[in-house]
C-alpha cells in the first residue's frame, strides 16, 4: 500500500450538514481527498465515512484531531496499515468481447452487448489497478473507481458507536 496515503474511518451523524462540516474541515485544513465512501452502519442515524488523502502519520493525526472537533462526528480512527483489510472496486467498460479477455484476470462480466462489455474488478488496490491497466489494450470506454472499504482484520476491533 502507498505509505504516503492515509485512510480514516469516521462515524458521524447521518445528515447533510454533517457531510458539509466534515468535508469543509478537510478542505480548510488543506487535505485533498483522493477517495471517499459514505455508507450506512448497523446503527440508525449513524453513517461511516472512509476518507483517503495523501499525507504522513502527522497529517493523519492532524486530520483526526480536527475531525474530532466537529460536533456531529462521533468517532474517528486511522485505519491505514497492516491491521486493516481494504477493498476497492472498479467498473470498466471496454469495446471488446468478454471471451477476448484472458481468464487469468480477476474480472466479473456484468453486462455484454454487441460492441462492449461492462466488467467489475474488485480487490486490493493493486489488483484493481492492474486490471484497469491490463484492459487498456482492449480499449477502455469508461472506468469508474470506488473505495476503499476498510475493515479491521481482527474481529471485534470494529469501533463501537
Amino acid at each position: 500500500m502507498n505509505v504516503s496515503e492515509k485512510r480514516l474511518s469516521v462515524l458521524a451523524a447521518d445528515s447533510p450538514e454533517a457531510f458539509l462540516r466534515l468535508t469543509g474541515v478537510m478542505a480548510r485544513r488543506g487535505f485533498r481527498l483522493r477517495g471517499m465512501s459514505l455508507a450506512k452502519t448497523m446503527h440508525p442515524g449513524v453513517v461511516r465515512y472512509t476518507l483517503v488523502f495523501p499525507g504522513d502519520d502527522g497529517a493523519a493525526e492532524r486530520a483526526v484531531l480536527n475531525l474530532r472537533k466537529v460536533v456531529d462526528v462521533l468517532r474517528v480512527e486511522d485505519v491505514s496499515g497492516e491491521a486493516f483489510r481494504e477493498r476497492w472496486v472498479a467498473l470498466i467498460r471496454c469495446a471488446c468481447r468478454a471471451c477476448d479477455v484472458p481468464e487469468t484476470l480477476p474480472l466479473r462480466v456484468l453486462e455484454e452487448d454487441a460492441d462492449s462489455v461492462l466488467f467489475e474488478a474488485s480487490g486490493d488496490r493493486e489488483t484493481v489497478e492492474s486490471c484497469i491497466s491490463a484492459m487498456a489494450s482492449f480499449g477502455i470506454g469508461d472506468v469508474i473507481r470506488g473505495g476503499p472499504f476498510v475493515m479491521p482484520l481482527a474481529p471485534g476491533t470494529e469501533p463501537p458507536v
Binding site: E17, G58, E61, R68
Partner: protein, 559 residues
C-alpha cells in the same frame, strides 16, 4: 406550555442565562422581536449586525458567559460573518439567533434568502438549522453548551419565520436533560503533568507563555502562584494580556512581533517554556524555525488539535489550563537560583526607554496617561493596527478580562461595538476604547448606540491620518511607497461626535491630553477624544516578518 416558537425562543434564551441580547430586527425575525417585549433580558439595538456580534463578543470576554445576538435573514446574516469569524478566531463563546425565510420558501431564492448554514460553516464552532419546534429546547441547551464548553466559540441557530409563528408545546423544565457535549481534557495527576513538573523542577531558566486560554479557564490565580512557585517569569500573548498582572515583578509583558525585548529574549534563552492556553500564532512565535530552540517546550491546551500544529513541543498536554496549573502548584518543588529572573530584569532595564521617535506626542505616553486616569479594573478595548500594538505595549493589564482586542482575525472596527458589550457586561460601567482613525470609521455608526444607552465609553482615537500599520510596512518593506494608506482626511472628530450628541475633544500634546482627561472624568455618558499624532510614528520594537524573536528592531533606524 402552549406558546409560539418566538415565545419559546425568549423563554429558552432566559433559561440559558441570557441577560443582554444585541441585535437588529428584520422581516424574518418580526415574531421574535414581538416576543421580546415581555422578555426578562434586555435587548440592545445596535446599528449594524457586525457590531451586534462584536458587542456580544465584548460582553462574553468580560463576563465569561456566552454573548447573545440576533439578526434577520439574508443581509442581516451576511453582515454578521465578520463578527462570527472574529469570535471564532479568538475562541469567544456566543450564540447568534438568525432568522430565515419561511420553511416553504427555503431553496427558492426567496426575498432575503441566504445560505445561512453554508455561509457560516467555516466561521462557527457549530450551527443548528431549526426545522420544527419539537427539539427547540434541546437545540438551545446544546448551543449554549457547545459555545462555552472546551475551547469556546460562536454557535449559530437559524430559525425560519414560520416556525416563530407556529404554536407548540414547550416542555417544562427546559434547562435540565442531557446535552450532547463532549468533555475534552482531563485534570488530575496525568503522567504528562508529572513529566511537566519534572521538567520545570529541573529547569535552570523556566518561563511561562500565557495565552487567552488562561482567562477562558479562569486560571489567572493558578498561573500567578505557579509563576511565583517556580520563579518563572511570565510572558503573555496578545490575547493573554490580563491573565497575569502586568505590574508583577515576574511579568515580562507581551511576546511576539511587537512584544517586549525582555519577553522575546527570555523566550530565546529559556531552557523550559511552559506555554498554556495559546495556539502559537505566527505573530507570537516569529519564525518557528527558531522558536524555543534552546528550550524544552511544554504545551498545554484544551484543544488537542493545537498540540503540534505550529510548534512541535517536547511535551504536549491536552488539559484545561486551570486544572493543569493547579496540579503543578500543589506539588512540592525545589528552590531556584534567582539569577535567571535577575537576567530578565536586566533586559527590562536595558530596554526601558520606549523605542519611539524623540520629541512630540508619543502614542506610548498617550496610552500610559489614559491608563493612569482610570482605575485598573476598567477594561480597555483596542482596535486593530498600530493603535492596538501601542495599547498592548503600554496599557498594563492587571486583571483578567481588562484587555480586549481582535487578535486572531485582526478585525478593524471591532473596538467600538465590543466596548459597548464590555460595558454592559459590567453593569454599564466605564470602558476605554482605543482606535485608529481608520478602524474607528469602520463602525462609527455605533456612536448612536452609545448615546441611546448612555454607555460610559471613553473613546480615544489615535489619529495619524493614515492606515498606519500598513503604512509602516510600506515604509519598512516597500521603500516608502505609500500606496493607498496616507489619507490625511480632514474629518473633524469633535463635530462628528457632536452630530451624534457626544461631547468631543481634540488634543495634540500631553498637556492638552491631561486637561482633556480631567474633563472626561466628569462626563457620565459617552465621550470622544481625538489625539492627533505624527503620521511617521512607527511601532517598535518589531520582529520583522520571518525573523527570530530575539532579532527585533528596537527603534527606528535599527534595520
Amino acid at each position: 406550555m402552549r406558546m409560539t416558537g418566538a415565545e419559546m425562543v425568549v423563554r429558552l434564551l432566559e433559561a440559558n442565562g441570557a441577560t443582554h441580547v444585541f441585535g437588529i430586527p428584520g422581516g424574518s425575525v418580526i415574531p421574535l422581536y414581538d416576543a421580546f417585549s415581555d422578555a426578562r433580558f434586555t435587548h440592545l439595538l445596535m446599528r449594524h449586525e457586525q457590531a451586534a456580534v462584536h458587542a456580544a463578543d465584548g460582553f462574553a470576554r468580560v463576563s465569561g458567559r456566552p454573548g447573545v445576538c440576533v439578526c434577520t435573514a439574508g443581509p442581516g446574516f451576511t453582515n454578521c460573518l465578520t463578527g462570527l469569524a472574529t469570535a471564532f478566531a479568538d475562541s469567544v463563546p456566543l450564540v447568534l439567533v438568525c432568522g430565515q425565510v419561511a420553511t416553504s420558501l427555503i431553496g427558492t431564492d426567496a426575498f432575503q434568502e441566504a445560505d445561512v448554514f453554508g455561509g457560516s460553516l467555516s466561521v462557527v464552532k457549530h450551527s443548528f438549522m431549526v426545522r420544527d419546534l419539537a427539539g427547540l429546547a434541546r437545540t438551545f441547551r446544546s448551543a449554549f453548551g457547545i459555545a462555552g464548553e472546551g475551547r469556546p466559540g460562536p454557535v449559530l441557530i437559524e430559525i425560519p419565520v414560520d416556525l416563530q409563528r407556529e404554536v407548540g408545546d414547550l416542555p417544562s423544565g427546559t434547562t435540565d436533560g442531557e446535552c450532547p457535549v463532549r468533555v475534552s481534557g482531563r485534570g488530575g495527576a496525568t503522567p504528562e503533568l508529572r513529566e511537566a513538573l519534572r521538567l520545570l523542577d529541573a529547569a535552570e531558566r523556566p518561563m511561562f507563555l500565557a495565552g487567552g486560554g488562561v482567562m477562558i479557564s479562569r486560571a489567572s490565580e493558578a498561573l500567578l502562584s505557579c509563576a511565583e512557585r517556580f520563579q518563572a517569569p511570565v510572558a503573555t500573548t496578545l490575547l493573554g494580556k490580563g491573565s497575569f498582572p502586568g505590574s508583577h515583578p515576574l511579568s515580562l509583558g507581551m511576546a511576539g512581533m511587537h512584544g517586549t525585548p525582555q519577553a522575546n529574549l527570555a523566550l530565546s534563552e529559556a531552557d523550559v517554556i511552559l506555554a498554556v492556553g495559546t495556539r502559537f500564532s505566527d505573530r507570537t512565535t516569529g519564525n518557528t524555525g527558531f522558536f524555543g530552540k534552546a528550550a524544552a517546550v511544554i504545551h498545554i491546551d484544551i484543544d488537542a488539535s493545537e498540540i503540534g500544529k505550529v510548534v512541535a513541543p517536547s511535551l504536549g498536554i491536552v488539559a484545561d489550563a486551570g486544572d493543569a496549573l493547579r496540579f503543578l502548584n500543589e506539588c512540592p518543588g525545589r528552590r531556584r537560583d534567582p539569577s535567571w529572573v535577575a537576567r530578565t530584569r536586566e533586559w527590562r532595564a536595558r530596554y526601558a526607554a520606549p523605542g519611539m521617535m524623540q520629541g512630540g506626542f508619543h502614542p506610548g505616553d498617550i496610552v500610559r496617561r489614559i491608563r493612569n486616569a482610570f482605575d485598573d479594573v476598567v477594561p480597555l478595548v483596542a482596535d486593530v493596527g498600530q493603535n492596538q500594538m501601542w495599547a498592548a505595549q503600554h496599557w498594563s493589564a492587571e486583571h483578567p478580562g481588562t484587555f480586549l482586542t481582535s487578535g486572531g482575525l485582526g478585525t478593524m472596527g471591532y473596538a467600538l461595538p465590543a466596548a459597548v458589550g464590555a460595558s454592559f457586561a459590567a453593569g454599564l460601567s466605564p470602558v476605554v476604547c482605543v482606535a485608529g482613525d481608520g478602524g474607528f470609521l469602520m463602525n462609527v455608526q455605533e456612536l448612536d448606540t452609545c448615546v441611546r444607552y448612555a454607555v460610559p465609553i471613553r473613546i480615544f482615537i489615535l489619529n495619524n491620518g493614515c492606515l498606519g500599520m500598513v503604512r509602516q510596512w510600506q515604509e519598512l518593506f516597500r521603500d516608502g511607497r505609500y500606496s493607498q494608506t496616507v489619507t490625511g482626511s480632514p474629518c473633524d472628530y469633535v463635530r462628528l461626535a457632536g452630530a451624534f450628541g457626544i461631547p468631543g475633544f481634540s488634543c495634540s500634546s500631553l498637556e492638552g491630553l491631561d486637561s482633556v482627561l480631567s474633563e472626561v472624568a466628569s462626563v457620565e455618558g459617552p465621550v470622544l477624544v481625538e489625539c492627533r499624532i505624527a503620521q511617521e510614528e512607527n511601532v517598535f520594537p518589531m520582529v520583522p516578518p520571518g525573523g527570530a524573536l530575539g532579532d527585533f528592531l528596537f527603534r527606528a533606524g535599527d534595520a
